[in-house]
């Protein structure tokens, strides 16, 4: 394993630098081809999104993998290295593994835990695979990275909370109603904001949309958009109790709904809860209404508070996620070492078994006829000689594969015993 990663991201580089290094998708196969033919790169992939550009490679066992990848990025985009020096980061070996895991698990994203990045990494991997740039090492690494991302999603709640106003509203609605299927949403005031919120709620499963507006015609237009129902201007209070969710964004200077309206609604609804989202400024709904049992009122600031809390929650969850990444990096290291050591052990055994058989066959002719007992003694004598001789190096190889950090040591042992990859 000789992993190298060079790249930049929203954390190290401003957008005008990032866009200069962007690899457009159609050029990726060509870029990967260039990496393979011009540089000492065995396997590679390129991740290029609006927030990051990264080149990951398994290079030949030479120390200047980082330089090679830097050189590749600069010459491909025809940018002098000096202008990029401050923006590029590089990771090798274990650090590269950790970085890849963190990126896939969305721990390095601008919005912590956002889900798009995993899809982007998967696409980058498939593209590299189709270009024939992926071999055993990167394939194992990336599949593990996908697994880590999945573990982080299922074992932490890092990605489960909403970080936009519309999604926060949907999330709150689900905390009240659980399932939005069969629920009715009523829009008061046919503006852009309420249209957007209604769109998200419809997407989340709300069955019926009612629209009320100061001018009836506009209500009809918006209702058509959602295949909903427009409410006559004077009929608002005849229909309002049908709504499970009310989104209000009228231009009214005074409250349209007060506490008494809330009490009346809950009475008519036989205590079924109502979720009111007041995104109007000045507000449409008297905040006192939140004191009525089973009425839940959120204004625009409340929704922002929820988003802030969600972001803090993601930060907390990120700690558990980092712990998962730590475990997985250790595990991957163990696999990688075992992979490096096992073939060496097998080769060592096979090589000396072949030597033993050869030597035995040669000497056997000179020994003449022997009893079967004597044959067995010679057989076991030669075998135990080989075993005794190999005992130390093999147990050392096994020890190395479990503990020490230096992968060069395995290479040294291979060299001493004349083993080739």
């Amino acid at each position: 394993m000789n992993l190298v990663l060079v790249g930049l991201s929203h954390k190290t580089a401003p957008v005008h630098i990032r866009e200069r290094l962007h690899f457009p998708e159609p050029q990726l196969p060509q870029a990967l081809e260039l990496l393979r033919t011009r540089y000492e790169v065995r396997e590679s992939m390129i991740l290029s999104t609006c927030n990051r550009v990264e080149v990951l490679a398994q290079t030949a066992e030479s120390p200047d993998g980082v330089h090679q990848l830097r050189d590749f990025i600069c010459s491909f985009h025809k940018v002098p290295y000096d202008s990029l020096r401050d923006f590029l980061y590089d990771f090798t070996q274990l650090d590269a593994v950790r970085h890849v895991f963190r990126v896939a698990a969305s721990l390095d994203s601008m919005v912590l835990g956002e889900p798009q990045i995993l899809g982007q990494v998967k696409t980058a991997f498939t593209t590299a695979q189709n270009a024939g740039a992926i071999g055993a090492t990167l394939s194992q690494l990336m599949n593990r990275a996908f697994f880590v991302a999945k573990r982080v999603r299922s074992e932490t709640t890092i990605a489960s909370s909403a970080v936009s106003i519309s999604y926060a509203a949907v999330e709150l609605a689900k905390k009240i109603f659980n399932d939005l299927k069969g629920k009715t949403v009523m829009i008061l005031g046919a503006g852009k904001m309420s249209e957007l919120a209604a769109k998200h709620l419809s997407g989340a499963g709300v069955s019926k949309v009612l629209v009320w507006n100061r001018t009836y015609q506009r209500a009809v237009e918006l209702a058509e958009l959602f295949k909903g129902e427009a409410i006559q201007t004077e009929d608002l209070f005849r229909h309002i109790e049908r709504a499970d969710i009310i989104i209000s964004s009228t231009g009214s200077p005074a409250f349209i709904l007060n506490k008494a309206d809330g009490e009346r609604m809950i009475h008519l609804r036989k205590n079924r809860p109502v979720f009111i989202i007041d995104i109007a400024v000045p507000r449409d709904v008297d905040p006192e209404i939140n004191k009525v049992n089973n009425v839940f009122l959120y204004d625009i600031d409340d929704l922002r508070n929820v988003i802030d809390a969600n972001l803090r929650q993601r930060q907390r969850e990120a700690q558990s996620a980092e712990e998962i990444v730590r475990q997985e990096v250790d595990l991957f290291l163990e696999y990688a070492r075992a992979r490096d050591a096992t073939p060496a052990i097998v080769m060592l055994r096979e090589h000396w078994e072949a030597v033993r058989k050869e030597e035995l066959a040669r000497s056997r002719k000179r020994l003449g006829s022997l009893t079967s007992e004597q044959e067995a003694v010679i057989e076991s004598l030669t075998q135990s000689l080989v075993n005794k001789m190999l005992h130390q190096p093999i147990s050392e190889l096994k020890r190395l594969s479990r503990q020490t950090l230096n992968p060069d040591e395995v290479a040294i042992i291979k060299r001493i015993f004349g083993l080739k990859d």
Binding site: T157, K270, R272, N310
Partner: protein, 272 residues
């Protein structure tokens, strides 16, 4: 054999206790799958312990404190597993796991007076009375837990400052639904239990038994739940008030179960 399995059960339930403790302290999802496996295996071991006790005693092992506590813990785990299968609510475990651990541990600490079996307790009505009442109580405990979860989640939503509970607890709808369903299972069971108890008493007891404090409290419990169910069905009582009544109901259940264990009442047979 039954004590052996009961001890194994306690060991397995202790994983659940650990889970609840860690979940409350760290406010994070900890060890849930392990704990669920522990509770599941513990349930099997618990069942074996009860079966062996039954074989050893030659009658259902619910006629003494030891057996009754153990059996009560067993039906609570049963109620939890049934509601988990339906709702997948991990939060419920925080209420259930410590309680079953404590009940099972208490059962194990009370020595089992195997020989002291009262002739009066050898009645079919008695063997119906105990399991139905206990199953009813277990269902009420689930309703109680759902009620508490409802109140906490409702407070989070009303205060508009989401904290750990907001993320961990289920939606109001689910809490309310779980509470309602538990009541609609628990209430008929309690009714059957009370009727069976009355039939048993009228056939077996010679002294007057109507003034027994446990019986009076049971009737109060029954009335509270009857009122709650009536208003749920007729007036759509739900949400906060229904949750508070479920909690109140279970507090009365606890008073009935624990507070009326003194001598000289029909129910003191169990102690003698």
């Amino acid at each position: 054999m039954n004590t052996l399995f009961l001890r194994l059960t306690i060991a397995l339930y202790s994983i659940g206790l650990l889970h609840s403790f860690l979940t409350i302290v760290t406010r994070k999802k900890t060890l849930f799958r392990v704990a669920l496996a522990g509770i599941g295996l513990g349930f099997i071991s618990h069942a074996l312990s009860i079966i062996f006790a039954w074989i050893e005693l030659d009658h259902p092992p619910i006629t003494d404190n030891h057996g009754a506590l153990s059996f009560f813990a067993f039906v609570i785990v049963l109620a939890f597993l049934v509601s988990y299968a339906r709702y997948r609510l991990e939060s419920l475990s925080v209420f259930v796991f410590p309680l079953v651990f404590i009940l099972t541990l208490a059962a194990n600490l009370i020595s089992s007076p195997n020989a002291a079996r009262h002739e009066l307790l050898r009645s079919l009505w008695f063997y119906i009375h105990i399991p139905t009442t206990f199953l009813g109580y277990a269902a009420f405990f689930v309703a109680f837990s759902a009620g508490i979860m409802y109140l906490i989640q409702e407070r989070e939503l009303k205060r508009k400052r989401p904290q750990a509970f907001y993320y961990r607890l289920p939606s109001l709808e689910i809490c309310d639904d779980l509470g309602y369903r538990s009541l609609s299972v628990g209430f008929p069971l309690l009714t059957v239990g009370i009727v069976a108890g009355a039939l048993w008493a009228s056939r077996s007891l010679t002294q007057p038994w109507g003034g027994d404090p446990k019986i009076i409290w049971s009737l109060i419990t029954w009335l509270v739940y009857a009122v709650l169910i009536h208003y749920r069905l007729s007036a759509g009582l739900r949400g906060r008030r229904a949750a508070m009544m479920s909690i109140l109901g279970f507090v009365i259940v606890l008073l009935t179960f624990l507070g009326t264990r003194h001598q000289g009442s029909a129910h003191s047979f169990i102690q003698q």
